[in-house]
């Protein structure tokens, strides 16, 4: 039988079943644990989350410095000892600070669970912020900062956040060289005491979970009490800049970086799943309008992407690319042209079908295995949402109409509202 290569194989439906895989347990003192038990290897992931992100800082660099100093010395271990013992047990520890949350994630072989929890308690709740280590950290960070400021992508992104959220709000505030002299151990200890407290912690545990996990967590974390209860008093308000276009000159650059976008709704808004869909269509996958036009038809860039991101107090959308300096006007015009088309012309069924199926495939990847599921869980949990969000998203992916896409494009991509930040 001849093989008919021009005829595609049949495509079978592949909807993912979204169930609630996280089991929830509370320790004696109320610390919530969320357990996602699955996987083929004897390895676990634990993520410890605090509301200690950039939004909480009252000085630039405070949230990140406090987080990065957690592994630089504790009551019972020096910085050097901590690094060495973490490596000795084969533990992968990463610290992280986002705009709203901060914390750390560890991956480790199950057999070491008790040692891991003992070390994490040291790191999270008994740091001592030694001055010598802090000085070294600030020197290293300043060096990284100065290298980053050589990159047009960073210059454009930093300015983008400032324009969208304002220079005084922690979401938008830029960092300057002078800020690296402003940190001292007592400031970090103060921030730590306010925000890294047991009653503000949540733990997401995933992998082939060791049977003693809850018992050990109780042993190491269940008896802790918070030293002080800090009542927050947020003073900063989000206020975007009036100037919509801004260019940051970078001598010697061979490309211009673009960041075009604005503040928008976040995950709690009922339009958010539809906005996600629109974003994929515009610039969220390889076959997107922007990628097809600006990369695949015109060869103007190595890549162009659009993102929609959710923060606690707002959301933002941004189109991001780098292109040759001489094509700056052309690239910007083409981006606005593509947005305009989505506001005017209904999306055809074929393209709609591609985006529906692509996004359904992405949903499967978001729940493929315990670690991916843990990240998806966090992505809704931190907004006070549950897995129903994903069910709503799935329904939107299946049923969104061309008219609804036009409505969303008009409502959320008003070109006059967009900031156009370029650097190069």
């Amino acid at each position: 039988m001849d093989l008919l290569r021009h005829i595609p194989p049949r495509i079978f439906p592949f909807d993912t079943e979204i169930s609630v895989p996280a089991e929830s347990v509370s320790l004696k003192n109320g610390i919530p644990l969320f357990l996602i038990n699955a996987g083929t290897e004897d390895i676990m992931r634990m993520e410890f989350i605090f509301r200690a992100g950039l939004v909480k800082e009252y000085l630039p660099l405070l949230a990140t410095s406090t987080n990065m100093m957690l592994t630089e010395g504790s009551e019972n271990y020096s910085s050097e000892e901590l690094k060495s013992v973490l490596d000795f047990y084969g533990i992968f520890l990463s610290l992280s600070v986002e705009k709203d949350t901060a914390g750390l994630t560890v991956y480790f072989l199950n057999k070491h669970i008790e040692k891991v929890l003992e070390l994490i308690r040291e790191v999270l709740f008994r740091p001592v912020f030694p001055e010598k280590e802090l000085n070294l950290l600030m020197k290293k960070r300043l060096a990284r900062f100065k290298v980053a400021r050589e990159k047009v992508q960073h210059l454009a992104m930093d300015q983008f956040f400032e324009s969208v959220f304002g220079p005084h709000h922690p979401y938008g505030r830029q960092v300057f060289e002078k800020d690296f002299n402003g940190m001292c151990p007592s400031l970090l200890a103060d921030f730590h005491a306010k925000f890294y407290t047991p009653e503000k912690m949540a733990v997401i545990i995933s992998g082939r979970i060791h049977e003693q996990t809850v018992a050990y967590s109780e042993k190491y974390f269940g008896n802790m009490r918070s030293k002080e209860i800090y009542i927050e008093d947020p003073k900063n308000v989000i206020k975007g800049a009036d100037q919509r276009k801004k260019h940051i000159e970078k001598a010697g650059a061979v490309q211009t970086a673009f960041r075009i976008g604005s503040a928008t709704i976040n995950k709690r808004h009922s339009d958010y799943p539809g906005l996600k869909f629109l974003n994929v269509l515009l610039g969220g996958y390889f076959g997107s309008r922007l990628m097809k036009n600006i990369r695949e038809e015109k060869g103007l860039t190595y890549g162009i992407h659009s993102f929609v991101s959710s923060l606690d107090l707002a959301g933002y959308k941004v189109i991001s690319t780098e292109a040759g300096k001489k094509n700056r006007e052309l690239v910007a015009d083409e981006i606005y042209k593509e947005i305009g088309l989505l506001q005017k012309n209904p999306v055809g069924n074929d393209e709609l079908e591609v985006v529906r199926n692509y996004m359904s495939g992405e949903m499967i990847r978001m729940f493929d295995g315990p670690f991916a599921t843990a990240e998806s869980f966090k992505a809704v949990w931190e907004f006070g949402l549950d897995f129903n969000y994903f069910i709503r998203l799935m329904n939107t992916i299946r049923t969104i109409t061309p008219d609804e896409i036009i409505r969303l494009a008009i409502t959320y991509y008003n070109i006059d509202d967009l900031y156009e930040i370029t650097s190069g």
């Binding site: 595609p8 592949f14 290897e41 060495s84 490596d87 084969g90 533990i91 992968f92 290293k140």
Partner: protein, 414 residues
């Protein structure tokens, strides 16, 4: 333990299948045994450009991405000095779409002059974005030709120079395909939710009819042993001085491979490594410092890179690096330190095996080296290294005559 089945089709295509029922997806990996080392030295960058051209449709299918996205799939690819690798993940029920797409472009790609020109521009923008428009972005463009005199590892995968890309013609790409994209020059690996017998039937159906074409026999010049140390100094518009040192080593299958991997872990395995402890933490000479091996199939490199703290003299910094290197040749290694890097290697191997894509790529690479079961023996190979092997290996490789040093200086007045 990663179980797998292995078979070959009549046209020489090698197929490996590892079934993992815990995922609803299948990963499909096609590794072509061709990389930038196979390029004409006057036309570098072609292997990587060709990877882009493989996405411009094929003989019977006008577009690659569209049908894959319709089937819920996602894909990507990379090119390095040795290989070109294409991979996708797709819901298990639609894996046949992957077979259909990949077999058709192995049969014959479908790029036109217009698409060739566009992708050439895309790759030139990639060259600018990643190598020219970044501080320190051109390091590999400088370090490789310093270390290698004749082996094609002397240029990076992106190409030696933008002009090489600009001068490439459509015919070069067509010739490249016929020379290297052949059934017996590729490894097809499937991991995830697929039974070996299903994979076998689909491979026979879609890849079986592709005729075997003669593959161009590789004849690469072998790099002669380096007999004296080399240095090169550049001044660039960057904020800090940087130091790069590289030593020649054997290839991926050579007996010292794991020992040198372990040595770079001792030096730079995270913030408990010796380089960090001595040169960043204690002496504040560098703001960051790293060391790794290139994992090339032909004789590769051990690479050390560090950015200096402001105001530190580079000779002083280099002497301090040399002291740390020379300590490896003494007997200062404790059992505890050795155990530490072995434990870290073990957990990183287990972590890597939680991903069907990683398993697919690793199985393919080990098949290329002759034995996919090496994936199950990595940790044992690493564990077998003792203190005397470390010392002996350091003495044999980390010699000044075997070393090339690049001084990447800031042109700015501090």
């Amino acid at each position: 333990m990663i179980h797998f089945s292995r078979f070959s089709l009549d046209n020489g295509l090698r197929v490996i299948v590892h079934e993992d029922r815990s995922t609803p997806l299948v990963a499909m990996n096609i590794l072509y045994d061709v990389g930038s080392k196979d390029e004409d030295p006057a036309m570098t960058g072609l292997a990587h450009l060709f990877e882009h051209l493989m996405y411009c449709g094929s003989a019977n299918i006008p577009e690659y991405d569209l049908p894959l996205q319709l089937a819920g799939g996602e894909n990507n690819a990379f090119t390095n000095n040795d290989v070109t690798d294409y991979y996708l993940t797709i819901p298990a029920g639609n894996i046949e779409t992957g077979f259909w797409l990949e077999s058709d472009r192995m049969l014959e790609p479908g790029f036109s002059q217009k698409k060739f020109d566009i992708q050439k521009n895309v790759v030139i923008e990639e060259f600018k974005q990643r190598y020219l428009n970044q501080p320190y972005g051109d390091v590999m463009l400088l370090l490789r030709p310093l270390a290698y005199t004749i082996h094609p590892y002397r240029w990076p995968t992106i190409g030696m120079d933008v002009s090489h890309l600009e001068n490439l013609k459509l015919d070069h790409a067509v010739g490249f395909f016929h020379s290297y994209y052949t059934t017996d020059n590729a490894v097809l690996t499937l991991t995830g939710n697929i039974k070996p017998e299903v994979a076998y039937d689909l491979a026979v159906k879609w890849f079986g009819p592709i005729p075997r074409r003669p593959v161009t026999i590789r004849k690469l010049p072998q790099e002669p042993a380096q007999s004296e140390g080399k240095t090169h100094t550049v001044e660039k518009n960057v904020p800090y001085d940087a130091l790069y040192k590289t030593w020649h080593m054997g290839g991926r299958s050579s007996k010292d491979y794991y020992s040198l991997d372990l040595i770079t872990d001792l030096l730079a395995g995270g913030e408990s490594g010796r380089l960090y402890n001595r040169l960043v933490r204690e002496k504040n000479l560098f703001s960051e410092i790293n060391a790794y091996i290139t994992s090339d199939i032909d004789p590769g490199l051990i690479i050390l890179s560090g950015k200096l703290m402001k105001g530190i003299n580079i000779d002083k910094a280099e002497n301090a690096v040399n002291d740390v290197i020379n300590e490896l040749k003494d007997t200062t290694l404790t059992d505890n330190e050795l155990e530490k890097v072995k434990n870290k290697f073990e957990s990183s191997t287990v972590l890597s095996n939680t991903s069907i894509l990683n398993k697919a790529l690793n199985l393919s690479m080990y098949e290329l080296m002759g034995d996919p079961d090496l994936i199950n023996r990595e940790v044992d190979s690493f564990r077998a290294i003792d203190r005397s092997i470390v010392r002996d290996t350091a003495i044999r490789y980390l010699r000044p005559e075997n070393c090339s040093t690049l001084y990447y200086m800031s042109a700015r007045i501090v």
